[in-house]
Amino acid sequence: MDFASLAAQLNTEVILPELIVTATLLLVVVGDLIVGRAASSKWTPYVSIAGLLAAVGSLYFLWDKPNPISFLGSFNGDNLSIVFRGIIALSAAVTILMSIRYVEQSATSLAEYLTILLTATLGGMFLSGADELVMIFVSLETLSISSYLLTGYTKRDPRSNEAALKYLLIGASSSAIFLYGLSLLYGLSGGQTNLNDIASSITTAGLGQSIAVVIALVFAIAGIAFKIAAVPFHQWTPDVYEGSPTPVVAFLSVGSKAAGFALATRLLVTAFPYLTEQWHFVLTALAILSMILGNVVALAQTSMKRLLAYSSIGQAGFVMIGLVIGTDAGYSSMIFYLLVYLFMNLGAFTGVILFSLRTGTDQISEYSGLYQKDPLLTLGLSICLLSLGGIPPLAGFFGKLYLFWAGWQAGAYGLVLLGLITSVISIYYYIRVVKMMVVKEPQEMSDAVLNYPEIRWNLPGMRPLQVGLILSLIATSIAGILSNPLFTLSNESVTKTPMLQATVKPEKPVAVMKKSNESAQVSMKF
């Protein structure tokens, strides 16, 4: 096989966005080495953002590509992966906006931070399209290891150290378990590593219901549930969220979680079609536990970051509703929710970072009376939190509406009811923060707010934060009302993805009460 035909077989342009991110990454590393730390911090963040946006832009040209399989079946750049890659790259771009000031204030190198963040993004993007066991493992670990590094990035802060260690130990052990599941899959399929081949070999071998496959499934789900922080694999989340640098948390809660959902969708749908009932059942249980535990425990939190940690667990539960019902509308509602979740959660984190940069605290009680001193921050944070709670006409309302709509359509009445009840609980704790900021009288102001520094957007690194806050504020307010394009996007990403179409459940007509016929007959006898 000569080089040219091999290159043609690789179908390299499918990973063009990842190539752009890689180039950006190298540019940042090399540029930092050449011009030095102080000079490079002026331009590296903007180069990274430009690179990520260019990657998102290039995704547009890959939409509906007739032949999305590249690298001999390792990577599948179908529409589903494109949406997820877009979400991850965008979340990284917004994360950079909010990191600049934060990293500089912690007196660490910005370029190195960006390098690691871009690597994590790269891992996440590859994971979204990974169609082969080795590829899945390598990209998953790229994402995870760089996340550990990011978590411990403020290395002089013992809390950050501790968070990193906990994250690393739990993360590494969960990926070891996940890997064990993968190795079983490899063996059971008689030496296949491509997900489609695995499924077909296992089916032909008649091992579809064997105990070993079930063990593989359970191990795989354990790894995935760790990544998306579903209960009971969530224990790391609050600690890591509280200890890590806040921008990193923002990325973990959106980008890394989206990558986890991409992995879940692809792995479970492609490799386990013969166990659909079982994995739906397990994920339903996880969704129920996540919704209940995440939203209920969030009620008792006093730290804003822990509150958002538990809220993100609950939100993951909502998203899983879309995954488990397994209809077209279900998958597309999952994607739609992740899209709006991107804006609203990153907006909330931008607000939290801004507040902690100015006052140095994350305690919810310290937010009281903020409206008097900083109306813009109050507005941004309030809108994003209310949107997370699902208050119309904000984006989150439409996201939840779509999820529940799809759930009801598929007949998952119990899940929808539970989702509704827990989202009412979530309104309570989100509005508690809003109340702190808006309602408190001037004399009830906290010390942090009393000593609030003068708002100066012209400090280095503050302008990007402002841009990030306003962008996510606008997106959160508008994305719901003008959500038609987003709806179309998420619908098309599902309907034009062959993998999902092959396994999608026929949309069953809503249960008509069969009894009415019988009882009509009964009553006729009378």
Partner: protein, 534 residues
């Protein structure tokens, strides 16, 4: 202008769009914002009156000024607005009361931007609730009003405002779960998925399903209306909110519950209404008597009026349950009339509070001497509330009574008990209202007010009250002027409901045979259904 102009969209969205400008308005002393908001309110009111006057046919029972735009076709969510005889008067009421409450909040100097922003946002939400003909849109508008009310109560309210606001939001949010569930259930029932209320009304649901949905909706709207066991948020919320917010709460928000019951439970779930109507009638009586009795025991002025609202909304339930044109028309009239009266009473109590700085009846007394105009206005409003002939309250309650008494759907024993008990409530109303007036205005001036200048009502305050009292008296003197604007619709609804009764009543009780399939129930014919329904 042509009738193709999207009147209802304009009316609904104008306040919301206008409210978005408030944060950027130049405003030094908090004056520009209030003039601006008042102007927006007035323009919107004028638009409503204009649109209804020129483009609304009062003799047509169908939906008018219909507008439909696809919003999210993927969900089947349409921006469908329309008004008919039930919603049209309520849109007018909402607009009038909200505009007046902005005028009433003239002296809000604390965070005025936020106050008027929320007021305008709520304005839109209220109109939207009454106009929406897509059940998802209705739900959206219903939820939209949640956070503004929460913040309005919790910033500008009384000492226990945070508790009251939290209670309000939890009750309403939990209630609205049921709306969404019912909406989804109805929309996905049968083959075609639709959220349009008219099409939902035409679907042929099975009886069990209809009963379940009816129960879910009655819980959701019962929180809002409020119906007896679900009312506990109301005295807190109304008692703690500031006067302008109480005006809207009592004047408009309660009517959203009554409106929704007529619109959905009666119009769309007619068969189930047959089974629930006696329950509604009983709950209505409980509301009337319980509200009046508890009101009697309240020492806080606003809480007393809040319970009086509970009592008065019982008549709406009774009217809805009556199955007669007159009863239903009375229910609508009672909603309008209570909206005006309650707004006036809450406003006047706010006026009093501004001077005395207390709401406790024990601490008041002898105010009549120094505040004669307030005294007079308060007396007129109370008279209207206790249903003095010549006032709208009298007409509304009388119509409900006659409507219920002439209803042929109930046994005469049941009617007798219901009418008798609600008559007891009617007697209790003057007792607590007059004793309230006595404690406030008569007697010797309380010593605590010595040195406090108790100024009489200012022209603005008289104006606000007059705007509410004039329609009250107008309706009271010549109710036909008003009822004829919507009568055709209530007649249609009532006859539709009665038609369903006759078909449902012919059948053996499928409800039980469907649940238990016990053939023994065959002997129970609808004729003596629980001895209540004929």
């Amino acid at each position: 202008m042509s009738t193709n102009f999207p009147w209802l969209t304009t009316i609904t969205l104008l306040p919301l769009v206008a409210s978005l400008l408030i944060p950027v308005l130049p405003d030094k002393y908090g004056k520009t914002v209030r003039w601006y908001s008042l102007a927006v309110g007035l323009i919107d009111f004028a638009l409503i009156v204009y649109a209804f006057w020129y483009h609304y046919d009062f003799q047509n029972p169908d939906f008018q000024l219909v507008e439909t735009y696809a919003w999210l076709p993927q969900l089947g969510l349409n921006w469908t607005l329309a008004v008919d005889g039930i919603s049209m008067p309520l849109v007018l009421l909402a607009s009038l009361v909200t505009t007046l409450s902005m005028l009433a909040g003239w002296q809000v100097t604390y965070k005025p931007r936020l106050f008027y922003f929320l007021m305008l946002a709520m304005y839109s939400a209220q109109i939207g609730v009454f106009c929406a003909q897509d059940i998802l849109l209705f739900f959206l508008m219903w939820e939209l009003e949640l956070v503004p009310v929460y913040i309005l109560i919790s910033i500008w309210g009384g000492p226990k405002r945070l508790y009251a606001a939290t209670k309000f939001i939890l009750y309403t949010a939990i209630g609205s779960i049921f709306i969404l569930v019912a909406a989804l259930a109805m929309a996905f029932y049968g083959g075609n998925v639709t959220f349009d209320m008219r099409e939902l009304g035409m679907k042929d649901y099975s009886l069990t399903f209809e009963l379940l949905v009816y129960a879910a909706l009655i819980i959701a709207y019962g929180v809002k209306l409020p119906i007896f066991p679900l009312h506990t948020w109301l005295p807190d919320a109304h008692g703690e909110a500031s006067a302008p917010v109480s005006m809207i709460l009592a004047g408009v928000l309660l009517k959203m519950g009554g409106y929704a019951i007529i619109r959905m439970n009666v119009e769309m779930l007619t068969d189930a209404h047959f089974y629930f109507a006696p329950v509604l009638a009983i709950l209505g009586v409980v509301n009337i008597v319980y509200g009046a009795l508890v009101s009697f025991a309240q020492r806080n002025l606003k809480r007393r009026m809040a319970y009086s609202s509970v009592s008065h909304m019982g008549f709406v339930l009774l009217g809805i349950a009556s199955y007669t044109e007159l009863g239903l028309s009375g229910a609508v009239l009672q909603m309008i009339s209570h909206g005006l009266i309650a707004a006036a009473l809450f406003y006047l109590s706010g006026v009093t509070y501004e001077r005395t700085h207390t709401l406790m009846l024990d601490k008041m007394g002898g105010l009549g001497r120094s505040m004669p105009t307030v005294f007079a206005l308060f007396t007129i409003a109370s008279m209207a509330s206790l249903a003095l002939p010549g006032m709208s309250g009298f007409v509304g309650e009388l119509a409900v009574f006659i409507g219920f008494a002439t209803s042929d759907s109930y046994t005469s024993a049941f009617k007798l008990v219901v009418v008798l008990l609600s008559a007891v409530g009617l007697i209790l109303t003057p007792m607590y209202l007059l004793s309230m007036l006595r404690e406030m205005f008569y007697g010797k001036e309380n010593t605590e007010f010595r040195g406090v200048p108790l100024l009489d009502a200012r022209p603005r305050e008289v104006f606000v009250t007059a705007c509410l009292l004039i329609p009250i008296i107008g309706i009271g003197l010549y109710p036909k002027l008003f009822t004829q604007t919507y009568d055709v619709k209530t007649v249609q609804v009532a006859s539709h409901a009665r038609m369903a009764v006759s078909t449902v009543a012919q059948q053996p009780l499928q409800l039980f045979s469907e649940v238990s399939q016990a053939p023994a129930l065959n002997s129970v014919t609808s004729g003596e259904f629980l001895g209540i329904v004929k």
